[in-house]
Symmetry: C2
Subunit: 164 residues, 2 copies
DNA sequence: ATATTTTAGTTGCTTCAAGCAACCTAATTT
DNA sequence: AAATTAGGTTGCTTGAAGCAACTAAAATAT
């Protein structure tokens, strides 16, 4: 009866969610992007209980998303994003933009992301073709990839020809 | 002692996660992108228990992410993505790419997303400036937006000048 | 140098949510 | 008309989240 984990599913989204999909986890990562690095700051900014925060930080460190490193100039430790963690930025940005548009509503964004160089808001993050055209879900074909299991192949198929 | 929800936090990511951040919810949305529309198909493909599936589908319908509509040519209902739901595609795509790269590893993607028109894989989804340049987290400035609360302003500040 | 406060947790208790099985009614198929 | 499937609901059990109290070490104040 243990909570079902997604790590046995043959799907990258499941695997990703298995690691960052628990309650609080993505908010902790967001806080890390905001610059938070110390246990007590995560706690205060998020209003999360200590035991849950401890659990999530440990898991994130175990996954290599955060690194627990000695605080330079002190005997404590801080948590900082690794490359693996930093590459979650597009996930955070798309979530933020979706929340801005569909929940907060126009003109109510609490945080805006600006291009440091120009001071302008960043562009809307979109899924694009190699040629740089925006693609909607209907413009996209899902196909079983190299690492698929038979079950997936049945559902999606693989085109015989050049798929690369 | 009820599980803390994120809907009172002045943050779009929190608001988004409050709606789609529960265990199973994003996988249900992913399944919907795969084309699943019926209760029993969600159940079978995901291996989720009926009561949890019922709960999540109801919440997604209540939020306007899925619509429960009569099955054309039958007396049953199907669940289909609304515009609000379809606009979660960039979130799913970034999660999938992150999972491909950091968990499954190169060459092990179970599903690939192809441009229907050309048959080529889609581009890596990146955060870009208005001019179309890729931006890393360090290239981005976070600022309190129009809908910020005082607490946020303290943390991020608002530049006095032209921020639009 | 000592005392006080803060930090970064741990432990134990309680309640809510997830997993499971059994059941049920309406629709669909045989 | 009978059997099966779809789409749930209900009740029980276990696991995870919330809360408060406690603790050792580090940082700060005296």
């Amino acid at each position: 009866m243990k909570k079902i984990t997604f790590d046995t599913r043959n799907c990258s989204v499941s695997q990703a969610l298995n690691v960052i999909g628990e309650w609080w986890t993505l908010l902790i990562i967001l806080e890390a992007f905001f610059g938070t690095r110390r246990f007590s700051d995560f706690e205060r900014h998020l209003g999360i209980s200590k035991n849950v925060l401890t659990d999530r930080l440990q898991k994130l460190v175990a996954q290599g998303i955060l690194a627990r490193v000695p605080d330079p100039g002190g005997k404590r430790h801080i948590y900082k994003l690794s490359d693996k963690g930093r590459e979650l930025f597009p996930v955070i940005a798309t979530l933020m933009q979706w929340g801005d548009n569909w929940i907060m509503g126009k003109g109510n964004a609490p945080v805006r992301l600006l291009d440091k160089k120009t001071g302008e808001p960043i562009a809307r993050v979109t899924v694009q073709s190699r040629q740089g055209h925006d693609l909607m879900p209907r413009d996209i074909l899902m196909e079983a990839g190299e690492g698929h299991l038979p079950e997936f192949r049945e559902r999606f198929g693989v085109r015989p020809g050049k798929s690369r």
